[in-house]
Point group: C2
Chain length 343, copies 2
């Protein structure tokens, strides 16, 4: 099994992807291919006094990479020599079994749709993020497709259910539709249509509309929405948690007494904080593609990259894509003319 | 000045609205008209050994009221004898200067548009809620109009700016557009068009797109969005804060030591919790109407109702509506044919 890692993607690249790759090599049996600037990659290993001498490790050299500011389509246009573009092509050509990048999300989504290609019958690939909740909840789409139709939401529900079952071992995952109320009459035309479709599909366990305030309590395992609303939900949970944790830290560090008081609570607070840390769950899978692609968080450290490798291995081993293909064949959707890959 | 209060609206009606009205009578100079079941209203006062004998207090009797399950249009159709319907008609007819209800939001929005009427030139009235943030941020629309156009978002920005200036004393309020990224190219057609309109209006202080994760840090004073997205944002902030505070409480109450440790932090935690309590800021104004209507939180207690009375008094005194009328005259919008009142 070969995992391709974009060494140049993310806020702390190439250092953290390289360190994460080296950690993963120690823990897992997989081969790893780092795509990026070979000189820099070797310098990082040297600096940390880590050996690169491992027959399961190889480097594909390129000096070009996608920045956070680059347009999504740059990955197939101006920057086809970038680490992300090369990695995706290697995956498409079967030179690896999964691709991981902490780089530009829009570019990864567009590039993987165009280079790796979607599963036949899947209208849009989506980014699925595990929400920091009482129990892991998969938000699909969490930001890739800002405008979707009800048929696409339906496919997100099916793919999300398969992923939560295979990757997290959730039996008969509960699917919720993010909406502005729990009643079946709530939402715009999009939610009303999606509600009907989801209700009508007995291959999934649809539990109805879910309000945003219920989400942190883990009322469903798969939460279906368009990418615009998904972004707003994900970011507001992250922002509120980060703001509150900062305020609480402020309370503790007020004076000597409060500092002392905080000691017996420290572990619990730390645990709570880490439960709101997306990197605990590895990265966000792009579902609907014909090969596994994982978007690691932009601020991924070595551990997050290592976790993404573990996730990629499980993604491959549990044959999630085979299952999505089988389900898509069972419930075919007409592919509409306006369904383009790059949005 | 006469404030009309829906005695039958909200989760704790009629008790809490009645108690809130009696508290407000003591604190403020205004006259109060309670609309609701007179027998029940008098029973509540008696039960709490409070006198109803005040020349500034009157009761308009009705036994009918709008429930949380009633359809929005029931306020003008099946239930025109309800406390909400009567209260709104009294406001429209000049028998009072402001109306407060903690009842069904959809009914209040539809009813006030149809009975109280919008300001000429305003395409939609909106519900504006103060977000629990580092500093008060007015979210407009927070849930009334689930689908809007860019011209409506523009009017929300103008009305929200006036409200934050007059009601909260914010000089030159910073207006942000809720979006899935800060770049000007982000969002759907709606956000792109709204961005252009807001940039082009030099009567407001537009600071650009705002991501959901920035919101709790108070990066703007007025946050403009459609009612669907506004609902998702508001509810996810509330849900995340409530979930986290519960978790933290769980840490404290784990054992005797943690309980003891929590003592020096207690006040701070309490304060933090109350900063996420919407009732601190009174209710949510419906902006765009020709008279002041305030939606108090469904779970309003007497204090929240009293605060809503204070807010209504300030709403009237600061002539917010006059200012909105003046601004609307300055920048007229063609009223499109499909603009109907009741959504």
């Amino acid at each position: 099994m070969k995992i391709i890692i974009d060494a140049m993607g993310g806020d702390f690249a190439p250092e953290q992807p390289v360190l994460g790759a080296l950690e993963a090599l120690k823990e897992y049996d997989a081969e790893i291919i780092l795509v990026g600037d070979e000189t820099k990659i070797r310098e990082i290993a040297e600096h940390h006094q880590l050996s690169m001498d491992n027959e399961r490790l190889s480097i594909v050299h390129t000096e070009e990479f996608i920045t956070m500011e680059d347009a999504p389509l740059s990955v197939i246009r101006q920057k086809h020599g970038s680490s992300m573009s090369i990695g995706l092509r290697m995956l498409a050509e079967g030179k690896g079994d999964a691709f991981i990048s902490a780089g530009n999300t829009g570019a990864l989504h567009a590039g993987s749709s165009l280079i790796v290609r979607r599963i036949k019958g899947i209208k849009r690939s989506a980014i699925a993020s595990v929400l920091p909740c009482a129990n892991p909840t998969l938000l699909i789409d969490s930001g890739a497709n800002i405008e979707v139709d009800a048929a696409q939401l339906h496919q997100f529900a099916v793919m999300g259910s398969i992923y939560m079952n295979k990757q997290f071992g959730v039996e008969d995952p509960r699917v919720g539709l993010l909406n502005n109320g729990t009643e079946s009459t709530k939402g715009t035309k999009l939610q009303l249509e999606a509600y009907d479709r989801l209700t009508g599909d007995d291959t999934i366990n649809f539990v109805g509309n879910v309000e945003a305030k219920q989400v942190p309590y883990g009322v469903c395992d798969v939460l279906v929405t368009d990418g615009f609303t998904g972004n707003i939900l994900l970011k507001s949970i992250e922002g509120t948690a980060s703001y509150l944790m900062k305020q609480i830290k402020g309370l503790y560090t007020r004076n000597a007494l409060t500092k002392l008081s905080a000691l017996p609570l420290k572990d619990g607070i730390k645990q709570l904080k880490s439960s709101f840390d997306a990197s605990e769950y590895g990265g966000a899978p792009l579902l609907g593609l014909s090969k596994p692609v994982i978007k690691a968080h932009g601020s991924s450290d070595a551990t997050a990259i290592k976790n993404a490798v573990r996730q990629a291995i499980r993604f491959i081993n549990t044959e999630i894509i085979v299952e999505i293909v089988l389900q898509t064949v069972k419930t075919p959707e007409p592919v509409s003319a306006e369904t383009t890959a790059a949005e």
